[in-house]
Symmetry: C2
Subunit: 276 residues, 2 copies
């Protein structure tokens, strides 16, 4: 695997490649990321990963400084799944000057995650566009774990006429159901046990919907209450339409339940697609 910290060197490496598949990450890789890398292989003959903890998408009070950085272990993992090239810029390479041009997402970027993390999707859209311009892949893979991010990236690609196909990767889970996340590493052993409640709660909510309940507000409130009763501080539990993350009506069939909640000092997100 070629490890390339410089934009120019990466471009030189990729110059003659005709089917580049790109998987951007913030590092601290787990089995979920590696599944995306394996999935990428099916869509091209040159798999490029990136590792960059993007300051732009963290609010000042968030965990940019403490976000886990495990570069050597990450490289070993990427090699083990046959990634061809790793773009690993430092901050000076990607932001040699303050980032004054930004990509402004539409209103969808202010809902759900965007409501609780103001500026988050502006930071995501801006860095993803910049990485796309650097790597110039034909295909890119994003995990469904960050469901709203996946939607926003897809929307951006369409609206900015980027010649890139976006592939969605399923969320990888621990055996007990917890969605794999770099932030799981922040959890104490007791919190790690409790953490499974988030996905279980989504699952229960999904079963209610499939069994015919259409009072989504009541289902959301009930799920929030279950979390609160177990010492969680939920930001939101939301039943939405898969197509645009807007509020569903009773006869919408492709739904998704999304949740974000704090367990101690760790903020976890998860989601579950529900087809009625």
């Amino acid at each position: 695997m070629d490890i390339l910290p410089q934009i120019a060197a990466l471009r030189a490496r990729l110059k003659s490649e005709t089917a580049v598949v790109f998987v951007p990450t913030m590092g601290n890789l787990h089995a979920g990321h590696l599944a995306l890398m394996r999935q990428a292989r099916a869509h091209g003959n040159c798999v490029v990963a990136s590792i960059f903890v993007n300051r732009l998408q963290f609010a000042p009070h968030e965990d940019f400084n403490t976000y886990p950085r495990t570069f050597e272990a990450d490289c070993d993992k990427l090699r083990s799944v046959g990634v061809d090239a790793l773009f690993a810029p430092d901050e000076k390479e990607l932001y040699p000057e303050p980032q004054a041009f930004t990509v402004e997402p539409p209103a969808l970027g202010n809902l759900l995650e965007g409501e609780f993390r103001p500026g988050f999707f502006r930071g995501v859209a801006t860095v993803v566009l910049k990485l796309f311009n650097i790597v110039q892949p034909q295909t890119a893979v994003f995990g469904k774990k960050d469901y709203q991010q996946l939607m926003i990236v897809r929307h951006m690609v369409r609206q900015l006429a980027l010649p890139i196909t976006i592939i969605a990767g399923d969320t990888a889970r621990a055996e007990d159901g917890l969605a794999l996340s770099s932030r799981n590493g922040y959890l104490s052993p007791a919190e790690r046990d409790e953490a499974t409640r988030l996905y279980r709660t989504l699952g229960e909510l999904g079963r209610e919907i499939r069994s015919g309940c259409t009072d989504f507000a009541a289902l959301e409130a009930d799920a929030m209450k279950k979390l609160v009763n177990n010492q969680w501080k939920p930001d939101y539990v939301a039943v939405r339409k898969q197509a645009d993350l807007q509020l569903p009506s009773a006869n919408d069939h492709s739904l998704v339940v999304l949740a974000a909640a704090w367990l101690g000092k760790t903020r976890l997100i998860d989601n579950l697609e529900v087809a009625k």
Copy 2:
């Protein structure tokens, strides 16, 4: 010349090209545009022009609806200078849905033109990025007539890591000095005679600077007064640093004088680089 109204057809046409030079326009082409096309030829072996009147960069009260559209004549002119391909999308092709993702320019976008045309540079940056993503040129040519636009496009290319070299084209002028512009067509014969005052005034201001005057504010005020005294309504006359369009100090040497002013119902802009 291949005339391609569809993104997909344009991409197919350019697929095997390795040195595409792109010159975006809003049509109603004059000798200034054609000079850019000839200049483009020196930078690649496939010259692509575009014609698209971009609604996004017009404020509601501006001249989007009346902006001159002369497609057949434009095609003849482009053929006459050997342009290889013309991308000429209609509005549905470029904006099939409302443009919800925008490129937000930095503070520079709120000065000068941006102050008098709020949202203008957001509209410019967004459509230029989109056109770049569609055409994927190695090089693009922008005229110095729109000096601030040229700077913003260069800044965007650098900040978004677009793999495109931006070439500046000199402003083409009528024999009497008036900068060529599609909007000159709005002028009455009497206004057309008077219009040369704008460039003459910039020239006089430039001579004052070269002769050692550093009271830029007084020079600006004096120039504004000359215009006002001759029935112009100037938006601004501004002496700025070439590098960043910020206010110069007495020991800055690479300056530019920029002006925008209304003559009757026509808004004209012009500028003059001044090296001390």
